[in-house]
């Protein structure tokens, strides 16, 4: 889901920087109010966890690969705004040091994976767990379901961002200038891969860690 440089036209990549700026500002504001000094290590661990989870590429039939993001887990433990910051740090380092995800696409990639993913996942988790006791099985399911829906929302968006490029930018002869695949290919592929494979990985990883923390550190799972 890391959109590289050259796949999005300037209009799309520029727009997502503009959209992300106030989100990043709001995230800093909220985190400033809510993050305790004792939670700083957890913010760092969360960002590092997301980074390393994304290195576990999983092959799927058809010769493609993908991975989980781990972002919904951070949102469950630290709240969606802190998760936004943690995942943003991971994504920026991936782009700058490892060329994973484009420099021009940082806004779009952060919108998908650092904003939509943790927020959708977090609110689904909250709705499904619905004040269930911290040690309940329901919370484990809620975490898994939140993770599954969160990553799929992000993948769907990435598909749309890829898919609108041929509509926005093409030569007179009809050749695409950026991503060559339209909505009819990009959306079913991105959504399908994550619905069938990567969403389940995200769900299982998130649910298992929440189950582990219920026993080891129940105070980390509060909301």
């Amino acid at each position: 889901m890391h959109i590289p440089d050259g796949y999005l036209g300037p209009a799309t990549s520029g727009m997502f920087y503009v959209v992300m700026a106030p989100i990043w500002a709001k995230a800093s504001k909220v985190v400033k109010k809510t993050l305790k000094a004792s939670q700083v290590p957890l913010l760092a661990i969360g960002a590092a966890f997301s980074f390393v989870v994304m290195m576990f590429n999983v092959p799927i039939p058809g010769g493609s690969t993908g991975h989980a993001v781990g972002g919904v887990l951070i949102a469950i433990l630290l709240g969606p705004w802190a998760a936004c910051i943690a995942i943003t740090v991971a994504l920026v380092v991936q782009a700058l040091l490892f060329g994973d995800g484009g420099i021009t696409a940082i806004g779009a990639n952060c919108f998908n994976m650092a904003f939509v993913l943790p927020f959708v996942g977090y609110y689904v988790y909250k709705a499904v767990s619905h004040h269930a006791p911290v040690d309940s099985v329901r919370r484990v399911w809620a975490a898994g379901i939140g993770a599954y829906i969160g990553i799929n929302a992000a993948a769907l968006l990435a598909g749309v961002e890829f898919g609108i490029q041929p509509l926005l930018h093409h030569t007179a002869a009809g050749q695409a200038l950026y991503c060559p695949y339209g909505l009819n290919v990009a959306v079913p592929t991105m959504a399908g891969e994550h619905l069938l494979v990567f969403g389940w990985i995200e769900a299982v990883v998130t649910a298992l860690v929440v189950k582990y923390l219920q026993k080891q550190a129940p105070d980390m799972i509060q909301e």
Partner: protein
């Protein structure tokens, strides 16, 4: 043991296991993720390289492209796995430093 200590250990285990994310796709002959192809792959897939793509694709010169050392593209899987682990360590070191810096900057004092 403190829970954060356990989580740090978990992270280290993930770092050591990370080459699985390289070896498994290689074993099943899987290529790039969808939408993350280079110019050659796009040429093969759609028969041309989009003009805008050509201009932007190489905009950034990452110091460790694809979680490997520059010039190691043709090396064997064991070398690449080693590079992958080094990349994971470097990436996590930078991320932890940045996250701590931001966290200290933003977090409230007290507990």
């Amino acid at each position: 043991m403190k829970i954060t200590t356990k989580l740090w250990i978990g992270l280290m285990v993930l770092i050591l296991l990370s080459p699985l994310g390289l070896i498994l796709p290689e074993h099943f002959k899987a290529g790039s993720a969808w939408g993350e192809w280079g110019a050659d792959e796009i040429q093969k897939l759609v028969g041309y390289v989009p003009q805008g793509f050509k201009k932007l694709a190489d905009l950034w010169n990452a110091p460790m492209p694809d979680y490997a050392f520059k010039g190691w593209e043709e090396k064997g899987l064991s070398y690449l796995s080693f590079a992958y682990i080094v990349a994971a360590i470097v990436g996590i070191a930078v991320i932890v430093a940045v996250a701590y810096f931001i966290g200290k900057l933003l977090s409230s004092k007290g507990d």
